[in-house]
Symmetry: C2
Subunit: 356 residues, 2 copies
DNA sequence: AGCACTTTCGTGTGCGCACACACAAAAATA
DNA sequence: TATTTTTGTGTGTGCGCACACGAAAGTGCT
């Protein structure tokens, strides 16, 4: 293992000088800089990140702005746990992370938490840009202060975010279509469930639907795909009534696609006869959804690997700060296909965290 | 962030004493030990692994004994890359890893490489116990020297291995059955391909087949499942002839299950008419197999996450050595379902390694 | 040549921990 | 009581790096 000291010796300079060229700190004559760089390259040198981390203790500070979660809506719990785990992992690498949670239904809360966040003078910011206009506002502050920012899970266009970490929603929807088709190869109709609240704010859901539809278009299979809009999928009464009356009228529906994480609400409301005869495909490995897999009411879940999204985000930002490693602009996590048998194996790391 | 120094101050002892109780090094009076332990617990203290690693520089040495790979059989490449990546990651954590590759078809090679390995005086050993009797022999040495050992990918019973890291082959096979069924819901026959070489040596393949069959038994679906034994799946001529003649005789076959990583050999040999009408399910995300997904000849691949197996193994052993963290006895990695659309997203980390 | 700067570079300290060594007090032995 | 052994504890050094401070060398000017 080669060290800075070794490099310094070989170049007949002091460690300090090597350090200066390593960090582009300036104050080194062109000649010696060239010599040192040559030696660096020759040995393919890179600093010992462990020693570096120790020396850098508490130099960087990452702030994360993510939606809050509760028992009714657990989706954001996993990314949060991922962030938490990463926080722990990078803590000893001289980087601290503070997480701010906002109410995903209130723009004011988003802005308020951001203001709080800004006061901590972060070196970089990770955020879930839930609201377009408010994000524009927020980003102005960040750009003025030259704080790099990263988008998590929601991929807004037209911003100078260093990177986006999330899922390829279109492909995920496309896969859903494929699975649905292979599950019901005989001609029948499918139903897509939308909810009002998601329509206004979540373009990932749009892209999933687009992907789902495109599968059938591309394959040129003449399935009819209908859409049922339920005002608020979180409302049990409403959902129950809406889905059952619809299905009674349309007995040709053999598959239902729920492009949000609320498929369990649908399952809760659906009458037994429908559950038995209709294939369901949904998104996200929340505990409630997993339960639906386990009792056979849902065939497939497609997971965005939410835990990994949180975890990777922090790791990527840390690498960016400490090692100046520029990430890909778009970082897609794997699309996981979950069914009853492999659902319980998922997110071993996640479990570990929660049990602490 | 609380440090040993803080603990020492609070206990009115020196850092050395705290260090002694932290590492059970002995030589501390019961009274002070109790005091210190109380304070430790009170603050929920754990050592800074970064500083620890720096100080421990090169104290531990892990040796891995894994099968070699070549272009014809790439399966073991991924675990190797995983080990390599982990090697890099833990290098700066005071742990070095050396990997020894043996010819998986020659017992002598297994033993020979083990002897070489043993000379490096490893603190722990990771091995793929390909041969039962030879492993018994090998393990004797290890136990005598009190070197802990871990099994990777092959789960031999009756050993005192600290842990097994691999896949739940039975469930993976079960999933294969389920996917096959949902892909061909109308009554038809399925074919399982076995090869002589695998029969003798790989019980994972047995378990997969068992799982596959059990799915249909449990679901009580009256599919007929036949088996075709091909002497050597690596032999192109033989495979081609065997599969095509078989399929010509049995036109009722609508699905083929290949419980090994050689599905691409089958695809290579199969005539176009069969490829178009028969659903194929295989194992392992080798490049050749992925290609089969991409050109639509294979419907699903089930992946053992071989890269992660290698990576996690080393990480687990490192944690065991450095932090005395006792792992679960059996560590199953997630069973991944790959289809054309999500195959390319897999193993981002793996790509990174290989491009270096 | 003398002076005031600027550029270029070396030295020293600390990050938190592991461990060897030194040394005191207590206990055991003569 | 004197001496040896054991037990308990403090001190110092180094792991590889980051960075502040200040010294040396170089520059331009009068």
């Amino acid at each position: 293992m080669i060290t800075i000291k070794d490099i310094a010796k070989e170049a007949n300079v002091s460690e300090g000088t090597v350090d200066r060229v390593l960090h582009n700190r300036g104050g080194v004559s062109k000649k010696t800089e060239a010599t040192i760089k040559a030696i660096l390259k020759k040995h393919n040198f890179s600093v010992n990140p462990v020693a570096s981390a120790l020396a850098l203790k508490n130099k960087f500070h990452i702030a994360a702005l993510v939606p809050d979660f509760n028992d009714a809506d657990l989706f954001w719990k996993s990314p949060y746990l991922g962030i938490l785990k990463a926080t722990e992992d990078v803590k000893n690498f001289g980087t601290q992370v503070s997480t701010f949670k906002f109410n995903q239904y209130e723009k004011a809360s988003y802005l308020a938490m951001f203001k709080k966040l800004l006061k901590t003078k972060p070196s970089a910011v990770l955020l879930v840009p839930t609201f377009l206009n408010e994000t524009k506002e927020v980003v102005q502050f960040l750009e003025q202060l030259e704080i790099p920012y990263f988008f998590l899970n929601i991929d807004l266009e037209g911003f100078n975010n260093t990177a986006f970490i999330g899922q390829d929603s279109y492909t995920a929807g496309y896969i859903a279509g494929k699975l649905m088709h292979s599950n019901q190869p005989n001609l029948c109709n499918f139903l897509i469930i939308q909810s009002r609240s998601s329509i206004t704010k979540n373009n990932a859901i749009f892209k999933r639907i687009e992907g789902f539809n495109d599968y059938f278009i591309k394959k040129n299979v003449p399935y009819k795909i209908e859409t049922l809009k339920i005002e608020n999928l979180n409302n049990q009464q409403e959902t129950k009534k809406a889905i059952n009356t619809y299905l009674k009228k349309h007995s040709d529906i053999k598959g239902i696609f729920v492009p949000s994480s609320r498929i369990y609400m649908l399952v809760d409301g659906m009458e037994q006869q429908f559950l038995e005869n209709i294939k369901l495909i949904g998104f996200d490995n929340t505990p409630q959804n997993i339960k639906c897999l386990q009792n056979n009411s849902v065939s497939f879940l497609i997971s965005q690997k939410p835990f990994d999204q949180g975890y990777e985000s922090i790791r990527i930002i840390t690498d960016y700060l400490i090692k100046n490693k520029i990430p890909d602009h778009k970082i897609f996590l794997p699309i996981e296909i979950l069914l009853k048998e492999n659902a319980n194996f998922m997110d071993r790391h996640e479990l570990k965290i929660e049990n602490n």
